[in-house]
């Protein structure tokens, strides 16, 4: 599509640097910090997600970048141009960003076309009429809404409104695209489709995107980088796989996917340099935790899908005797919960997942294998 090429051409740059961002709200006379020193960098053309539980300050961070909220500290700059310091703020219309709002914010009194062409008619991005028209139509084509251009905007379905919001955010070819949970109002099927469309559009245009979500699967599937936020801070910033397999702490491990958190104590170190930790009254071999010596209390994590089960004892490390307490059929997988038995008493529980064809029976006694390379040790 030539138009896509056109759209890509003029855009460029889009390196966002957020350094030590702070924001507090006044509530009943007290200053409540909401964003507490957030720093991250987005390289041009990449897709970065801010992931975190509801209320952790993602939207506030995004709105500070957009200029809709005035930050109280820290520096925001886009391609070297400073947008915000704690005291000086470039107003949102002069930041050269585009934004898709959670509830789309489609203007109900305008047609689809009027919505899309708006950014090209107002002061910051004003273009001659003909050119503005052409650009708006290009933007609508990008999201396959060109056939609907002259419909009233409110006659669109939820998914179409969402695409219109995207077209409007892209029409003036901003350096940076901001998205605040844009898929959360769509139904599950549509969400999956839109997720793919959004990602491929971003890659085709090569636009820099900052995406806010509380949905870990969205963040993991779409992003080049994911920054996990908790309580107004970024706790880990990494590529999706790294985040999943090497979470920096218990919070990230727990928030991104499901995980077993097993309290343990470091006992020794074996010949390979691996650690020997004691958990459930048993010695387990795990990768060596950085910086915690013998006697340190740690947490061993293992994903449910990494746990394997055996009917009888086999000669493998980290084998635990267990009784299957609950089996739950979830369709493509089966999840089961096993009670770990040590000297005839139950000492803990492990959740595991496997293929539906190959699952233990409820009530049966099994051996669970926590393969050393699948375990990760975190500070307690």
């Amino acid at each position: 599509m030539t138009t896509t090429a056109d759209m890509t051409e003029a855009r460029g740059g889009g390196r966002l640097v957020v350094d030590g961002l702070e924001k507090h709200y006044r509530l009943d006379g007290a200053e409540v910090p909401v964003v507490k020193g957030v720093s991250f960098t987005i390289e041009p053309g990449t897709f970065t997600s801010l992931l975190g539980p509801s209320g952790c300050g993602k939207t506030t961070t995004l709105r500070c970048v957009a200029g809709l909220e005035t930050s109280d500290g820290g520096v925001i700059s886009l391609d070297g141009r400073v947008l915000s310091t704690g005291s000086e703020h470039v107003s949102p219309d002069k930041r050269d960003v585009g934004m898709v709002f959670q509830n789309y914010a489609i203007w109900p009194h305008m047609s689809v076309f009027a919505n899309a062409v708006f950014p090209l008619q107002v002061s910051a991005g004003k273009l001659p009429k003909k050119q503005a028209r052409q650009r708006a139509m290009e933007a609508l084509e990008l999201v396959q809404l060109d056939a609907y251009a002259h419909r009233p905007a409110t006659a669109l379905s939820g998914g179409q409104q969402q695409r219109l919001a995207l077209a409007r955010a892209l029409a003036h070819r901003p350096r940076l695209l901001l998205l605040d949970e844009p898929l959360s109002n769509l139904d599950a099927k549509l969400r999956d489709t839109m997720r793919n469309e959004l990602r491929s559009l971003q890659q085709r245009l090569g636009i820099t995107a900052l995406y806010v979500t509380h949905d870990q699967s969205e963040a993991l599937s779409m992003s080049d980088r994911v920054a996990v936020m908790n309580g107004g801070r970024i706790v880990q910033e990494a590529a999706p796989k790294e985040l999943y397999f090497a979470p920096a702490d218990r919070f990230v491990a727990d928030f991104v996917g499901r995980v077993n958190l097993i309290p343990a104590v470091v006992r020794d170190r074996d010949a390979n340099g691996d650690a020997l930790v004691e958990a459930f009254g048993t010695k387990l071999v795990t990768p060596c935790p950085a910086g915690s010596g013998t006697g340190a209390e740690v947490t061993v994590t293992i994903r449910p899908e990494s746990v394997r089960w055996h009917e009888a004892s086999v000669d493998r490390p980290n084998l635990l005797a267990a009784r299957v307490a609950r089996v739950e059929f979830l369709g493509e997988i089966v999840e089961y919960e096993a009670e770990i038995v040590h000297e005839q008493t139950t000492v803990g529980r492990i959740v595991a997942r496997g293929a539906p064809m190959d699952s233990p029976a409820e009530g049966s006694s099994v051996f669970l294998e926590l393969a050393p390379q699948a375990c990760r040790v975190l500070a307690a």
Binding site: G67, L68, S91, D93, G98, P119, V122, A124, T154, R168
Partner: protein, 635 residues
């Protein structure tokens, strides 16, 4: 107001154009309301006549002492005012609720026609309506008494127009439209799923009404009650025409007589101001109740969100009685009054209707005389200028202020300004008229406005709260993201306001403008205090024609003819404008694929516009609300 706290302010130190506009609008409204009230309170404490510029003015509590000295009179006035205003408020509310229910919630035939018929009296100035009732009830020639005599066994029964109960009923009949217009959106806006979930939980119609519907509507209805009460307390028309003969002194009339001094005496402004102060305390209490009620109503509305429309009730065998009741109501409020006026216009002197009289006595000269009367055209012109001017000032200032406050960070300042701008509903028109009158007298040496058209424009604008409240809730309806999206798209604040906010607010503002315009053309109480023969609007000129005491102007047939012509004109102008608005609102809403509520009237248009701003969160809130009702009905 947590959303408002998200107010975006780039370059915090520089006041934006919007801020300046808000402050200017706020100042205008503050001066408009605060100065007259202050002058009135000062007058109550400063002497018997004017508070400044006269030798008798000095600080004292003499006026309150006098009031206390005349306490028997005071209690009598308080008692009859309470009976008159309270009784008529209850009656009009019952009628208004019944009619609103019939038009919104039942399958009664001709519902659109009914709602139109209820609105028609709104266009007839109250002073004309009061006069029409006087004509209808005349013991010798009144058409209503004639009709009653036709009923078998009632030949000897004659309604006494000057009995106190008659007066209460008449007052209530003249004031049905206002509560009706306010109740209709409350009923339409109610979330149908709340009732449905009660029905599904096993409650019958009656139980649902009692346990879900009425409790849901209660705060809204309480608010309407208070407003109707204050409106009734402030209106002078019925007390003026009926009260003098009935011997009952109603507050509005009392205030009026206190300042219309007999020959050779100075009018007792100080005493009148003291009376006004006492009644202001009463209405302030009512206002506080109103504020709480509307806050509760808004809270409930925000829980239930915008659901789908409630189901209609099947009338079945009740259709006939219900229709009969509507017919009787329409006869009493529209058909007979207009007929009585028409009959009066075509007969040279009060004459009972008969076909004999119709053949021999009628003449149509009065209409021609009115149309040839230069003063008629002059006062009509003044009426339009005053009504249009005041509606424009009030809507302009109120909308700007409402937008500014609704979008500002909530502080003590914005909260008190919000309260203040809403407060004019608490001021009865008689008090406003009197306070404005005093103010223009006091400032006359410096700013000579007393008795001018400008003074009337300013005085009429005191009803600014209507526009303020409407503008405020309309602004809240516009989600903040719509403006933010404009900013992000590169629009300046002003561009965002012009291209996004203004078009979305416009239907509401226009609808309110029409409402205030019609109120203005009907206004009698304010000009009764303020107008001179050079500045009087048509309502006052008409009153002079039908009032036997205004010696040389007295011409009841011309007065009646004028009332009919005027009503027709207001109807044409008001309805034409409303029609334009509703057409636009309906057009827009149907383009957006939404079902629109009845848009036959200004409020309908506003409601349609509100409905048309769509809300994707509605489904969520609706299911939450449904859940809550299930929870309630389980208990």
């Amino acid at each position: 107001m947590s959303r408002a706290e998200r107010a975006t302010r780039a370059g915090r130190t520089r006041p934006t154009t919007m801020t300046v506009a808000t402050v200017v609008a706020g100042t205008v409204i503050f001066l408009l309301l605060a100065i007259p009230l202050a002058v009135q309170v000062i007058t109550a404490f400063r002497g018997p006549f004017l508070p400044f510029g006269v030798s008798s003015a000095r600080w004292s509590v003499d006026n309150f002492a006098t009031l206390w000295g005349l306490r028997e009179d005071f209690w009598a006035v308080l008692g009859s005012t309470a009976a008159f205003v309270g009784g008529s408020t209850v009656l009009s509310l019952l009628m208004a609720f019944g009619l609103a229910w019939i038009t919104v919630r039942t399958d009664a035939p001709f519902r659109r026609v009914i709602s139109l018929l209820v609105i028609v009296p709104f266009i007839v100035p109250p002073i004309v309506k009061a006069q029409a009732y006087l004509l209808m009830l005349s013991p010798e020639s009144g058409v209503l008494n004639q009709l009653i005599h036709l009923v078998p066994g009632m030949a000897d029964v004659t309604i006494d127009p000057y009995s106190f109960p008659t007066m209460i009923v008449i007052q209530s009949l003249t004031n049905v439209t206002f509560p009706f217009l306010m109740i209709v959106p409350i009923l339409t806006g109610m979330d149908g799923s709340l009732e449905e979930s009660a029905r599904v939980s096993g409650a019958g119609w009656g139980q649902t009404l009692r346990r879900v519907t009425l409790p849901m509507l209660w705060p809204g209805l309480l608010g309407v009650t208070v407003l109707t009460f204050i409106l009734g307390l402030g209106s002078l028309e019925v007390p003026l025409l009926f009260g003098q003969e009935s011997g009952k002194s109603i507050f509005a009339l009392k205030l009026w007589t206190l300042i219309s001094a007999g020959a050779g005496e100075l009018p007792q402004y100080g005493l009148a101001a003291a009376w006004g102060c006492v009644f202001l305390v009463i209405t302030t209490i009512a206002f506080v109740i109103y504020l709480r009620a509307t806050r509760d109503a808004e809270r409930r509305a925000s829980i239930s969100g915008k659901g789908f429309r409630p189901t209609t009730m099947k009338l079945g065998g009740w259709r006939i009685p219900v229709l009969l009741a509507v017919v009787v109501f329409t006869m009493l409020t529209a058909v007979l009054p207009l007929f009585a006026l028409f009959w009066s216009a075509i007969t040279p002197y009060p004459l009972a209707f008969s076909f004999e009289a119709l053949r021999t006595q009628t003449q149509f000269g009065a209409f021609g005389e009115v149309l040839a009367d230069g003063e008629f055209w002059a006062s009509l012109g003044r009426t339009l200028i005053i009504a249009g001017g005041s509606a424009t000032i009030a809507c302009g200032a109120a909308t700007v202020l409402a937008y500014g406050i609704a979008r500002a960070r909530a502080t003590g300042w914005t909260r008190s300004m919000d309260l203040f701008a809403s407060s004019s509903v608490a001021i009865p028109a008689v008090i406003a008229g009197f306070a404005m009158f005093l103010t223009f007298m006091v400032i006359n040496p410096v700013i000579p406005l007393a008795g001018t058209i400008a003074a009337l424009v300013i005085a009429y604008s005191y009803r600014v709260s209507i526009a303020y409240r409407a503008g405020f809730s309309a602004t809240l309806q516009i989600r903040k993201e719509l403006e933010e999206a404009a900013l992000i798209s590169g629009a300046s604040r002003l561009e965002g306001f012009r291209r996004i906010v203004a078009p979305l607010l416009a239907p509401t503002v226009f609808a309110v403008w029409i409402q205030m315009f019609i109120l203005g053309t009907n206004e009698f109480t304010l000009p009764a205090f303020l107008a001179t023969p050079e500045s009087r609007p048509l309502s006052v000129y008409m009153y002079a024609m039908i009032n036997p005491r205004s010696a040389q102007l007295y011409a009841p047939d011309q007065g009646a003819a004028m009332a009919l012509i005027f009503t027709l004109l207001v109807f044409a102008i008001g309805y034409g404008l409303q029609w334009l608005v509703s057409l636009r609102a309906i057009g827009r809403a149907s383009r957006r694929g939404r079902v629109v509520a009845s848009a036959t009237d200004a409020l309908g248009a506003a409601a349609a516009a509100v409905e048309a701003t769509d809300d994707p969160d509605a489904t969520d809130t609706r299911s939450v609300a449904t859940e809550q009702v299930r929870e309630l009905s389980r208990r």
